[in-house]
């Protein structure tokens, strides 16, 4: 029964759709009878919950939680009521959810519980390149590692069954290249009936006091062998014996290898953890030389080294890069350097050198830019701890960015050591996520700092998910939580709200805060420019009167993508959204609203 949906004969008659892998994972969860879904947005994982939210008349529950820890705990609650649940996050989100995650394997689950942690090799949109497989190992939780979008969909369906069968949470660990790949995906029916949750009291399981933990840990250890046995028989692992040299691989790297590996070289693909070490040992014993090619940490390679005395080549010998992501060209070169002739040869082409770079930037009319620019003017030479969000793209007033919510506490830490003013910036969603404890701590321990909450009324960077301060949740309108009231309750000495589109008022508010003591909060509130454009339509843009322009460059320093240098004078291009901040900054009054539109 466990493998019935994996039967390849079922494949032939299925309808296919061109789907993003994250959409396919959402679809697969529903086909598996999903009842309950939670998550916090984070690239590359956000589209799973986004997709679930688009199903109307749904017979399952879905929420954007305020952070990954509460997301996982909500999903645990549902699972303990017997419901099939998924909790979706990016790899660094798992750090936030690590506390429940690490103990959850002990208590185990009732309804199937899948924890999706999306890793980001390179990293494209993250602060680090940690490997979630390490977490699964540390927590003694099985982990599935897809190599294609279709396999990711098959895996999520299998994960629910495996989770229920062994009463253990299962991790699905796709990477960016899998999450954001779009492919032809097979579609199955979604069951119509839904389960009703019922919590069955069982203190020996659900109350994790030391006496119970001892026994539960024994049970958890005992489960491992049976889990490995089940995983070992899935089509997610396979091998081909074809010669004296072998390549062992996982994830997207195994897809690249299937394209490049020549006849006569053996191949093993690992898609599930814990690895079946007996099978791995048997495979390695047939080969003199083994290449291990994987992304992120040498997790596979360590396992191979544990069981094999053959010559092993991988990250630990310096042959496979320890950071970044792999691609066909890199894998091609690894094979060639190690005496394996790739099946396909690519033409040597070098990128053009010295081209102007085009890094991502804040949008024209973004509310972060005037806020940060004003901070830099009013608090010149001071210290600006910041946080995770679009604002890190700004060239102004960003001195630190470590992890979600860290700005507030790093800021208060600095304020206890430094003479200069500390002006912290954090987005509304990030503040709700993990900024609040930092503010309580700052007030409690008498820190001296200014906290500016960049309230753009959304979680912009990950695709505009709602936040608790907006009166909207994933299902529609809801209770609106007041940032002002929260900050006051956390002990802030001053709470003031200002619209940064009124640049003069923004600066005045900052001056007032500068003159006071204690923990001072300014809420800079204006909707994200992308959302506002959708709601209100286009505003009349601005232009530069060439006769009055003195070419001082102040408007260009502001850093709006709508202002560019053309020949030797600034011009305003079509990106202008009419916010008008630049017209206030221009000391010669040369920036004026366009006429006749």
């Amino acid at each position: 029964m466990l493998h019935k949906h994996l039967n390849p004969r079922w494949r032939e008659i299925k309808i296919k759709r061109f789907m993003l892998c994250n959409e396919a994972i959402a679809r697969g969860s529903l086909e598996a009878g999903l009842d309950f879904a939670t998550g916090y947005p984070g690239t590359p994982s956000s589209e799973v919950i986004d997709t679930l939210s688009t199903y109307h008349d749904r017979n399952f529950y879905v929420e954007w939680s305020v952070n990954e820890k509460v997301a996982l705990e909500n999903a645990i609650g549902a699972s303990w009521c017997g419901l099939r649940s998924i909790c979706v996050m990016k790899h660094v989100g798992l750090n936030v959810a690590a506390d429940p995650f690490m103990s959850l394997a002990y208590t185990g689950v009732k309804g199937g519980l899948v924890v999706l942690s999306a890793d980001d090799p390179f990293p494209h949109s993250s602060q680090n390149e940690q490997d979630s497989r390490r977490y699964a190992h540390a927590a003694k939780i099985p982990c599935l590692d897809p190599s294609t979008p279709q396999e990711a969909k098959d895996m999520v369906k299998y994960a629910f069954c495996l989770s229920e069968r062994h009463e253990i949470p299962v991790m699905l660990r796709p990477t960016t290249r899998i999450c954001h790949a779009r492919s032809d995906i097979e579609i199955d029916d979604i069951p119509k009936e839904s389960r009703i949750g019922k919590f069955a009291k069982d203190p020996k399981r659900w109350v994790l006091v030391p006496a119970h933990a001892k026994e539960l840990h024994k049970k958890l250890n005992k489960k491992q062998g049976k889990i490995i046995e089940d995983l070992s028989s899935t089509p997610f692992n396979y091998s081909m014996n074809r010669g004296e040299t072998a390549i062992i691989s996982s994830g997207v790297a195994s897809a690249y290898l299937r394209e490049l590996i020549p006849d006569g070289v053996s191949f093993m693909k690992i898609g599930t953890y814990p690895i079946d070490l007996r099978k791995l040992k048997a495979f390695t014993e047939r080969h003199k030389k083994i290449l291990v090619i994987e992304e992120l940490d040498p997790v596979l390679e360590e396992a191979v080294r544990m069981v094999s005395s053959s010559e092993i080549i991988g990250k630990m010998t310096g042959d496979v890069p320890l950071g970044g992501e792999l691609n066909l060209n890199i894998v091609h070169d690894i094979l060639e350097k190690n005496g394996i002739s790739p099946k396909i040869r690519y033409e040597e082409r070098d990128p053009e050198e010295g081209l102007p770079k085009r890094p991502p930037s804040l949008c024209a009319g973004c509310m972060h830019q005037p806020t940060l620019y004003a901070i830099e003017e009013v608090f010149k030479g001071d210290i600006y701890p910041s946080d995770i969000g679009c604002y890190t793209l700004s060239a102004h007033a960003i001195d630190t960015c470590l992890c979600m919510g860290s700005s507030v506490s790093i800021g208060s830490g600095i304020s206890h050591c430094e003479e200069r003013n500390v002006v912290v910036t954090i987005g509304d969603s990030t503040f709700m996520h993990t900024g609040i404890p930092g503010l309580i701590n700052a007030a409690y321990n008498d820190a001296k700092m200014v906290l500016v909450i960049l309230d753009n009324r959304t979680t912009a960077m990950t695709g505009h998910q709602p936040t608790p301060g907006t009166g909207e949740n994933i299902s529609g309108t809801c209770k609106e939580l007041s940032l002002e009231a929260i900050c006051r309750a956390c002990g802030a000495d001053l709470v003031e709200t200002v619209d940064p589109y009124d640049f003069v008022a923004m600066k005045e508010a900052l001056h007032r805060a500068k003159a006071k003591h204690g923990v001072r909060v300014i809420i800079a509130r204006h909707p994200c420019a992308i959302i506002e454009k959708k709601r209100k339509g286009e505003e009349i843009p601005f232009e530069i009167d060439v006769k009055r322009c003195t070419k001082c460059g102040d408007c260009l320093d502001y850093g709006c993508p709508a202002i560019e240098l053309y020949d030797i004078k600034p011009i305003i291009n079509d990106l202008c959204n009419g916010c008008g901040i630049c017209s206030v900054l221009c000391s010669s009054g040369a920036i004026i609203r366009r006429e006749g539109r």
Partner: protein, 192 residues
């Protein structure tokens, strides 16, 4: 073997939509396809790349020196990603520059893309897609102009490519998009 396509441009120009159209055409013709998209942080006005592997079902990334076609919505990006093309691969590019803010801040120069496009590529089909899209009814349809320009070199029946467009764009924009497709296609014929 897959037909490998790379679609590049500036975040917000519609590269993801262009890749989706190709993917939908594959579904219509019952062919395997896998594509890689740029999401998240990199989208905000940055340089973006989308890879599409028609008849491909393995890794989503097109190798450097392996693309059969490069479609670029902006000329500087065509040059930036030119090394993805095979020597005999085809470049399809818009000629309208979007000057990145770094040109001002780092004091670099925006290169003479018009002559670079023609000198760097063996097979280049270029046009001012913005003018043609405006003629069709909306400058935002520049990506569809380029798909029209590329259409005779793409491995699809034209009607299936058009159905791919229909499935991917908002219904009320279909008329403009059809005109944009035709103008791109005619431009190709004029160049030949």
């Amino acid at each position: 073997m897959s037909f490998d396509l790379v679609i590049v441009g500036v975040g917000g120009q519609g590269t993801i939509l262009s890749a989706r159209i190709i993917g939908e055409a594959c579904i219509i013709e019952g062919r395997h396809v896998i594509s890689a998209e740029t999401h998240g942080m990199a989208q905000r006005g940055g340089s973006v790349e989308n890879h599409v592997r028609i008849d491909g079902n393995l890794g989503p990334l097109v190798p450097i020196g392996g693309a059969d076609m490069l479609i670029s919505l902006e000329p500087l990006e065509a040059i930036r990603y030119g090394h993805y093309l095979k020597k005999d691969g085809i470049l399809i590019s818009n000629t309208v520059p979007i000057v990145p803010p770094t040109v001002y801040r780092a004091g670099t120069l925006y290169p003479d893309t018009d002559s670079l496009l023609l000198s760097k590529f063996n097979h280049a089909k270029i046009c001012n897609a913005n003018i043609l899209a405006t003629e069709a009814g909306n400058v935002l349809a520049a990506n569809i102009v380029l798909i029209g320009l590329a259409s005779p070199h793409l491995p699809f029946e034209e009607e299936n490519l058009i159905e791919g467009i229909r499935r991917s764009v908002p219904p009320k924009t279909m008329e403009i998009n059809m005109r944009a497709f035709e103008l791109g296609k005619i431009h190709n014929e004029e160049m030949c």
